[in-house]
């Protein structure tokens, strides 16, 4: 029998090819669907980054105790440093220098102007910062919200107005060898006699205060800036920033209180000199002996 390839045969062949292809594709599709993301729910869930870590309960274990330790770190500074100064005031007493005789221009008008702007801003930052630290005792709420607003606004202003003061005083604030000697006698504040103290235009204590307030202030601004915009950094980094902000803040607070005591009580006429700009020659010769007049 001779085999004739008719149109019928062709049709059957085409159907067969088509059905085979269709079946194969269906099987392939089925395989793909079954294997598309064929991982267990638990496994898939664990892939969600950081949202649900298996150790979520340990997540903030070091952060929580630190936050609650902050007021405990701050109040000793607020209590004990003023206490030491109180004892000093009554046991040794302030330094008195005669205001008669020749007077030396110690602070120019530009310096004084920026000093007082920074003094106001810095005081506001310190006071509102302390309010935030002791927010629980103050009841929280709107009062602390406003304190935070002032804290933030003054910080932005301070970081600008501190620059002129920084540049004016920079050359007199560079650490010198005689600063070590000043530290060894603690600036002569422990004796009642008016001894000659090794110091240039600024003594070592003033230099520490200067560097803490300017460079330290810049670090406080940097850390505070990122803490004020909390979504900008990962949470662990924010914790480190907060640590720096708080611990550096403790030092700045301590030196702030010291500066207040020295200028208001420890050296008579100190406040006047920052207002008028003049210091008595006797005082300068004694407390700033290495200064070239």
């Amino acid at each position: 029998m001779k085999f004739n390839l008719t149109s019928n045969h062709l049709r059957v062949l085409l159907y067969t090819v088509f059905l085979t292809a269709a079946g194969a594709s269906a099987l392939a599709a089925n395989y793909i669907i079954l294997n598309f993301g064929n991982i267990s729910t638990t496994q898939a869930f664990k892939a969600f980054p950081f949202l649900v870590s298996p150790k979520w309960e340990a997540y903030a274990n070091d952060f929580i105790p630190f936050v609650h330790a902050i007021p405990g770190m701050v109040w000793p500074i607020l209590v004990f440093i003023p206490l030491i100064f109180l004892i000093h005031f009554f046991a040794i007493g302030p330094k008195n220098f005669s205001e008669d005789g020749e007077r030396i221009l110690f602070y120019g008008a530009f310096t004084r102007f920026f000093h007082w702007i920074n003094a106001i801003l810095f005081s506001l930052i310190v006071i509102t910062g302390l309010m935030i630290v002791f927010s629980k005792a103050l009841g929280g709420g709107g009062l602390i919200q406003n304190a935070r607003l002032i804290h933030l606004s003054c910080a932005y202003a301070f970081i600008v107005t501190v620059i002129p003061l920084f540049l004016v005083w920079l050359k007199d604030m560079i650490p010198m060898p005689h600063d070590v000697k000043w530290f060894l006698i603690l600036g002569g504040y422990l004796s009642k006699k008016a001894t000659t103290v090794p110091a240039g235009k600024f003594n070592a204590g003033q230099k520490i205060w200067f560097w803490l307030a300017t460079v330290g202030g810049a670090v406080m601004f940097y850390t505070g800036f990122y803490l004020s915009d909390i979504t900008s950094r990962p949470q662990s980094e924010l914790f480190s920033l907060l640590k720096i902000h708080i611990i550096l803040g403790l030092f700045i607070l301590a030196l702030f209180i010291t500066h207040l005591y020295m200028s208001l009580f420890a050296v008579k006429g100190s406040l006047k000199s920052m207002i008028s700009g003049f210091k008595g020659k006797e005082e300068v010769k004694c407390l700033h002996s290495k200064m070239k007049i």
């Binding site: 294997n35 598309f36 993301g37 064929n38 991982i39 267990s40 729910t41 638990t42 898939a44 869930f45 892939a47 969600f48 980054p49 950081f50 949202l51 649900v52 870590s53 298996p54 979520w56 309960e57 997540y59 903030a60 952060f63 929580i64 936050v67 609650h68 902050i70 935030i132 927010s135 629980k136 009841g139 929280g140 709420g141 602390i144 919200q145 935070r148 607003l149 933030l152 606004s153 932005y156 803490l227 004020s228 915009d229 909390i230 979504t231 949470q235 924010l238 914790f239 907060l242």
Partner: protein
């Protein structure tokens, strides 16, 4: 008493973001604040999964532990709420929270944070129930009305379950048994 819980079934979630919109719209949440959000992994690749996440109303919640003014508290039924009259907006709860639930509105002055806002499980807040103040500060109080939270109520695939923990775990276990995958709920063993 029933322990209120959320449970997102990631095998069902289709990343429609309906829960997010329902929450924002129904509670009058300001722009920029998401009490609930949908996170997708492996987008467009095999193993794509979506998870709707908000405050998990943890037992032993880190936000409550860290709050320096004790503005955050937990109700008897497990719902964690914030008192916006006491909150100072310090942001410590955001740093402590493993889920990124606390949200802060940005102010006009130097972008100062406002008080914390987060998922209330649609249970209002410490203000008097159904008062104007409660609606303005915290949104709806659907729990007091006897309803489930907005997000779970509108979920079109019923991926997001909310309510008594025992009930929803039962529903989920039945689903898993039917699927035969033997998988466990996301974070069920660790998050609660």
């Amino acid at each position: 008493m029933a322990r209120m819980r959320f449970l997102c079934d990631i095998e069902r979630c289709i990343d429609c973001n309906g829960c997010v919109v329902a929450c924002k719209e129904g509670n009058g949440v300001p722009v920029g604040i998401n009490r609930r959000r949908v996170v997708t992994i492996n987008e467009g690749r095999p193993g794509e999964r979506s998870l709707s996440i908000s405050c998990m109303h943890c037992s032993n919640a880190p936000c409550i532990a860290v709050c320096p003014v004790k503005a955050i508290y937990q109700r008897e039924d497990g719902i964690v709420l914030v008192n916006k009259d006491i909150c100072i907006g310090c942001g410590y709860c955001f740093i402590a929270c493993p889920f990124g639930a606390p949200q802060f509105p940005k102010g006009d002055t130097f972008g100062k944070r406002g008080v914390m806002d987060k998922c209330t499980f649609c249970a209002g807040g410490p203000a008097p129930t159904f008062s104007e103040k409660e609606r303005r500060l915290y949104g709806q109080n659907r729990i007091a009305e006897g309803k489930v939270p907005l997000c779970a109520a509108m979920c079109s695939t019923k991926a997001l379950l909310a309510g008594d923990g025992d009930k929803i775990s039962q529903i989920f276990q039945e689903r898993v048994a039917r699927r035969g995958t033997g998988a466990k709920a996301p974070g069920w063993s660790v998050a609660y």
